[in-house]
Symmetry: C2
Subunit: 374 residues, 2 copies
Amino acid sequence: MYNTSKLVFSPRVRKSPYFNSTIKYGAQAFSVYNHMYMPISYEGTVKDYNNLLNGVQLWDVGVERQVQIKGPDAEALSQFLTPRNIKKCSNGQAMYAPFLDFKGGFINDPVMLKIDEDCYWFSLADGDALLWVQGIAAGFKFDVDIHEPDVSPLQVQGPNSTKLMVRVFGDWVNDLGFYRFKEVVHEGIPMVIARMGYSRELCYEIFLQDQSKGDELWEILWLAGQDFNISAGTPNVILRLEGGILSYLADIDRTNNPYEVGLDWMVDLDQADDFIGKEALREISLKGPAKKLIGAEIQGDPITLFNEEHLPVLIDRKKVGSMNAMAYSPRLNKNICYTILDIEHANSGQEIIISTPDSELKAITVDLPWLERA
Amino acid sequence: MYNTSKLVFSPRVRKSPYFNSTIKYGAQAFSVYNHMYMPISYEGTVKDYNNLLNGVQLWDVGVERQVQIKGPDAEALSQFLTPRNIKKCSNGQAMYAPFLDFKGGFINDPVMLKIDEDCYWFSLADGDALLWVQGIAAGFKFDVDIHEPDVSPLQVQGPNSTKLMVRVFGDWVNDLGFYRFKEVVHEGIPMVIARMGYSRELCYEIFLQDQSKGDELWEILWLAGQDFNISAGTPNVILRLEGGILSYLADIDRTNNPYEVGLDWMVDLDQADDFIGKEALREISLKGPAKKLIGAEIQGDPITLFNEEHLPVLIDRKKVGSMNAMAYSPRLNKNICYTILDIEHANSGQEIIISTPDSELKAITVDLPWLERA
């Protein structure tokens, strides 16, 4: 379990369009993400995880705010913001497209949706990247309009998710490709439906385009999911770790670059266009990174505590990195975690010590991920 | 009281350097602000308020992250970011210096500290304005270095605060002018001490410059304050409302401009230098704002609930604005609140209805503030 305190609901922090539904269906704990309340537990991390794997689950991820870039220079600016080659993205396609700073450090790691030739959405992790995009656009004089549209994602997760989506939205969902999306109006509710989400399980992401209809959309799905074993859940640390998925600010932050965290594959230094961080990344790619993210398996009984902070990693009593996230995986029957280690130690099979406030944990590094996509 | 849920401590959100002290001295509830945990209650809003007025209080406001702008163009960029005339600010002086966007809307409302001719700090409200400043600086090609330094503010609040500060730091504190500051190293702890803070009471703000020494600094002050009736507290909604102080994202946000919220006085359209939003503000100053922030006094018994969201304000059953923050003030013996009303209704003496989920509250508008600086 995590340590907790009381969280007060006050007007400085916004409620998601699904907030009332999350309370109604039993959300027991929240965090704050992009100035909004985000549910993070219903029946506990392990029970929520099992519920998902045994049916279908709704996740309120309305906190993933969108940056919409629209106008004649939308493609040019979007390309300038990310090291990916976005010219390879078609209309109706999505692409993981992190924002980097001029030193190659992560500003945010959004998924990009190409809505139209002149319109892109970036679905944000935790951070006001809207301000970055607007500052860059103003100074570099891109001819675009940039704002946060009325869009609030809801994820449908788990082995029964396709069955539920087909029942509610129709057979076309069967043919929706991975990281493809379609604009839909269902019972008067406008939305974009994508086949993707924050796990390696079968999953969908519904980008609701009318914040007044969050609870209505939730109820439609809930009702239709009764015989598919539907439950309410949240982004889950066990699923994330099993699948090698990163959480911005928990696992990585601005001090990291793509070469350190296994994201080399998304950097296209050969593309003709310039992008922010290109020069710095070229240097890092030549020298190699100074540290690297790698998995580790912690020995001993199943751990029940999650870490509240990054913990020091030791080899021969010397600090060589940090352990950033850990959990016991029931289906792997292993304690798994992410570490970021000095490059000379970042190889699989390395014995390390994780120093917690109460004890020292022995672990062995392993390559990521533990599980591939379902 | 506020409604609450559980808050989980996890590594995505940072702890303040004073976190352990806030737990030790009884923090009972937290929120998240600038990706950090912020304590918001010890013994309850009213008791915390009374404790402050009867002695001296420590507030962990480490969440006020600093943007440091340093280099040859530091003054030019700082001026470009705010409508205030910062040429009027001396070394060792601070100034409330909001950031606006190109339409005149609030990006953030920091206090600026002029550390040196070529070095400025902006002490942020809730929002990643660092990204805005870095984006603007890159695009408009200002020759500066911009980063978040290791600085974590702690406020010393209340009628006994000068006595405590003099005892710990020396007689010079008696001569420190309002919104003036001094760099100090005390018992090996580097800090900037300013006479200002987030209330109209006698108060000081200590900008700790070594995050490893937060609890040490707290204990030095706590020990010295034993016979000054020292307590632990937090930024307090009652004090804020009494004094007409604004909370970014609670009371105002990006949809507001200075003319709407009583901050006309800080806009200097006559200065020679350009700044972001100047053109838009000139237009608004000519046309006049479309809505305006004004206080209101709610009739009836002392209210005990705080609002979780902005509430609609009605006149003749028609929505004419919103009520953004409310509390009962013990020393005024009044229920007080902030409203933002359509301009034709934003005059004192106006009867309004505040529509809560449970009831309708009658109120009369009044000019701000209720209390001047102590």
